[in-house]
């Protein structure tokens, strides 16, 4: 049998340990394109589609929403995620088309680990944690340690991404993406900004402008030393633009078939500035 349709996580994990050549498939929106165009010739496939435990959204830990790796974007874009993690719901809604959102999942975005993965900047801005399971072990890895490069992560062959923990923030959060049109677009540049009112700080993460998602730590700390964010007062255009300029400085985009490095850097400065002004409107 070269396709294993697992109904339980342990079935999938056992099969994954047994078959060194096995590939995991959830929604198929990335892998099937590679297969259809003969870039990948699978021998053993393990389907995660029917594992119900990967499709749950849990809130049993206070302050955390834990989203199963197989929950489709079409679910993430609505409640309860929309209220608890609005930036994630916004990012989910920008993915592909309704057909793609019915199939794609956070586990897929993490498994592929493309810098253009729409939901990854949200994970970086919110300091999300990734749950990984093997048949005889499990671990939780910060998103900052999980993604190591373009389509590279610390996931081992025998591990399955099971869930992503998002801290629930008291404050404002938003996601913006630049692409050539609204539907069916892979981002040219994207940004997620979180204004955490409890800690009086701002966090911003950028997508599609570097080999990994980029957290703009220098711009974040510049803002915190420049302004007293605990007052939550509106932010002047000058300060917002300077924040945008600093965020763009921390990006390291390239020229490719989708856009140019120069345009991407400019797009980031505009996105960051707008998101910051919106956060303290």
């Amino acid at each position: 049998m070269s396709v294993i349709v697992a109904k339980e996580l342990t079935t999938a994990l056992t099969a994954l340990r047994e078959h060194g050549d096995a590939r995991l498939i959830q929604g198929g929106t990335d892998l099937m394109v590679e297969i259809n165009f003969n870039h990948v010739k699978p021998t053993t496939m393990i389907s995660l589609r029917d594992i119900k435990s990967l499709r749950m959204i849990r809130t049993d830990t206070p302050g955390i929403m834990s989203i199963g790796s197989g929950v489709p974007y079409s679910v993430i874009e609505g409640e309860p995620v929309l209220t608890a993690i609005p930036a994630l719901a916004q990012a989910a809604r920008t993915v592909g088309s309704p057909q793609i959102r019915a199939a794609g999942s956070l586990g897929g975005n993490l498994g592929t680990c493309s810098p253009a993965g729409d939901t990854l900047p949200v994970m970086f801005a919110l300091d999300a944690s990734i749950h990984l399971s093997a048949i005889d072990s499990s671990r939780v890895v910060s998103i900052h340690d999980f993604m190591t490069g373009v389509k590279r992560s610390v996931r081992q062959h025998d591990e399955i991404i099971t869930a992503i923990d998002f801290p629930i923030i008291n404050g404002w959060q938003g996601y913006s993406k630049v692409g050539v049109r609204n539907a069916m677009v892979i981002s040219v540049a994207s940004a997620c900004l979180v204004a955490d009112h409890e800690n009086a700080d701002v966090r911003i993460a950028l997508g599609s402008v570097g080999p990994t998602i980029i957290r703009c730590r220098a711009a974040e700390s510049w803002l915190k030393t420049t302004l007293d964010l605990s007052t939550r007062s509106t932010i002047s255009l000058d300060v917002a633009n300077e924040f945008g300029r600093r965020a763009a400085e921390e990006s390291s985009p390239i020229d490719d078939h989708r856009s140019t490095a120069q345009y991407r850097r400019h797009a980031i400065s505009v996105l960051a500035s707008r998101l910051l002004r919106k956060a303290y409107q």
């Binding site: 109904k7 929106t29 099937m32 394109v33 088309s97 199939a103 539907a183």
Partner: protein, 161 residues
């Protein structure tokens, strides 16, 4: 380990067996080439055009992005199974009347997407209609007539209430 797959799929309410297929075959390929259901069209094979839209457990998905052998526990509905009647559905009839069909290649995918939309949301806003068909590319109509067909269906369903 066998390189060839034998499995059954539930398509349009019938159990259909797939013989001797390759593991990487998409649901689109299996529907058209192995199960004799050519209504579902294939074009881009990368989930961009929506012409292969089918319902899988009630959700509209691109059949080209579903690995067929992983769909064994799902209920699949193709454009052929959108109605059990020999008559056209009201959505199909509206497409004909409003001239929303030109070359016809995108039509099956659009018909499935529109049935999916109206099944979930009988009174969609203009924005919701546009979003629902945003994954279906049509190079002939410019979408105006497709949009008119969806609105005509909604009107006729409201009138017959």
């Amino acid at each position: 380990m066998s390189a060839n797959e034998f499995y059954s799929l539930n398509v349009n309410g019938e159990t259909m067996s797939v013989q001797d297929s390759w593991v990487g075959e998409s649901l689109l390929y299996v529907l058209r080439e192995r199960l004799g259901l050519p209504g579902t069209k294939g074009a881009c094979e990368q989930g961009e055009c929506g012409s292969c839209t089918v319902l899988m457990d009630g959700e509209a998905v691109c059949a080209c992005l579903v690995m067929a052998a992983t769909a064994v526990n799902s209920e699949i509905v193709t454009v052929e199974g959108i109605t059990t009647d020999s008559e056209l559905t009201d959505v199909q009839q509206s497409f004909v009347e409003e001239g929303a069909v030109q070359c016809g290649f995108c039509t099956p995918g659009l018909i499935v997407a529109v049935h999916h939309l109206l099944g979930k949301n009988p009174q969609p806003s203009e924005f919701e209609i546009k979003e629902a068909i945003s994954g279906n590319i049509c190079r002939c109509t410019g979408y105006g007539r497709v949009f008119a067909a969806v609105e005509a269906t909604i009107r006729s369903r409201n009138d017959s209430k």
